[in-house]
């Protein structure tokens, strides 16, 4: 009986160890990591880097695209986020990570068209070499990374979805990104720092 107990204890310990040491195999940032800067081409042809924004307090880096139905469903909400927070020092920086040879609708020319149709007031950058999204660990569109500019660099504060209802903006109960930015700007802890959502896989 004692042996049985010991064995059970051991197996529990091993099981827990297996759980806790399960490495976060996915590359990319975790909350609290410092995010890399980049230099990517904007739809106006100019290169954009985070370091260009001297007075920014942070950034909403949003990996998105023209073609994904979820990205399209969130377009107006992305525009609204920029309208609301750019003036407070947290602009939206949209990045299209898709390979246009796989998804022709996400070509640079199509990006220009979409941005002008929707009147994007924020940069819409093209991750042409597909080197930036893997560093961030973006897996889908839309995928949001909230960064806070600190002395140590641009620290990742939130990763995930914009809110909890892609279907209907009026039915949203949790505005994850807004809550995160509000807390960050108020110097408070962000309650929900990561969320999951179905999205379109990034086309490589």
């Amino acid at each position: 009986m004692k042996i049985f107990k010991t064995l059970t204890l051991f197996s529990v310990v091993f099981f827990l160890a297996a759980l806790t040491t399960n490495p976060d195999v996915a590359e990319g940032y975790a909350i609290g990591d410092n995010a890399t800067d980049f230099s990517l081409k904007n739809i106006d042809g100019k290169m954009v880097s985070l370091s260009d924004y001297e007075t920014a307090k942070g950034f909403l880096i949003i990996f998105t695209c023209n073609t994904c139905p979820y990205a399209v469903a969130y377009e107006d909400r992305i525009i609204a986020l920029h309208d609301k927070y750019a003036a407070n020092g947290v602009p939206v920086i949209a990045i299209n990570p898709n390979n246009p040879s796989v998804k022709p609708g996400d070509s640079f020319d199509e990006m220009k068209k979409r941005a002008s149709e929707k009147g994007f007031a924020f940069p819409y950058l093209f991750d042409e070499d597909q080197t930036v999204f893997p560093k961030y660990g973006a897996t889908r569109t839309p995928h949001v990374f909230l960064l806070e500019k600190t002395e140590k660099g641009n620290t990742v504060r939130y990763i995930g979805a914009i809110d909890d209802n892609y279907q209907d903006a009026s039915q949203v109960e949790d505005k994850y990104v807004e809550n995160a930015v509000d807390a960050m700007l108020a110097g408070k802890d962000i309650e929900v720092t990561t969320t999951r959502a179905i999205g379109c896989s990034i086309k490589v």
Binding site: A26, C68, P69, T139, D164, T195, R196, I198, G199
Partner: protein
């Protein structure tokens, strides 16, 4: 069950006109409306001459068309679930092995891997294997894309629709490791489960399936 859900969905989310009607209507009135829509619908079937897609194109904006769209889906056996309702499908305890594939018609890698699942299902269904194809297509796509897709490709797996926007709540309940990317596949039976957030080749799928059925 479906028509009940479908009707709610019709009331809740389709055109403002319906919404307006519902707000204005008493319960009795709603029942009348339901009967009216039902009658209109059966009237449409009665004709039986115009092809389905054409029909929904022709009258796409009318109330009747909305009802017909929903009901046609039910005729094609696409139950619509929220996550609570679909939970039983993900946790059956019997002697069958279930392959549950999360996909959508807009998801290219999903569509590309579907033949591997259909082929495997055809070969293995006598070994007590079931294929459940959980569509994450959006409501606007059910009639326009999902129904024609399933018909065109003559899918033999059981197509069900998961219609639940609270993704952050239900994704981890399918599997703790799932980030939300599709395609994703759950293979389970009464004694074990495996989850794959990736495309699967025919060989990969069979390799994993053999761990369940042998």
């Amino acid at each position: 069950m479906f028509s009940q859900r479908g009707y709610k969905f019709l009331l809740k989310d389709k055109g403002r006109f319906i919404h307006y009607l519902i707000l204005k209507c008493s319960k009795q009135y709603m029942m009348d409306l339901r009967i009216l829509i039902g009658l209109c619908f059966f009237g449409l079937i009665g004709c039986g001459s115009s092809p389905e897609n054409k029909r929904s194109e022709e009258v796409a904006d009318s109330v009747i068309a909305e009802a017909a769209e929903v009901e046609t889906a039910s005729m094609l056996d696409f139950p619509v679930y929220d996550f609570d309702a679909i939970t039983t499908l993900l946790n059956k305890k019997n002697d069958t092995t279930y392959i549950v594939n999360f996909w959508a018609t807009w998801c290219k890698p999903c569509v590309e891997e579907l033949p591997n699942f259909e082929k495997t299902f055809a070969e293995q269904k006598n070994n007590k294997v079931e294929l459940i194809l959980v569509s994450l297509d959006m409501r606007s796509m059910w009639q326009k894309r999902l129904v024609p897709f399933v018909e065109k490709n003559d899918l033999k797996g059981s197509v069900v629709i998961l219609d639940d926007p609270k993704m952050n709540e239900w994704i981890p309940k399918v599997d703790q490791q799932w980030s939300g990317g599709i395609p994703a596949t759950l293979i389970y039976n009464s004694s074990k489960r495996s989850f794959f957030e990736q495309s699967m080749t025919y060989e990969e799928l069979n390799l994993e399936l053999r761990k369940f059925i042998n």
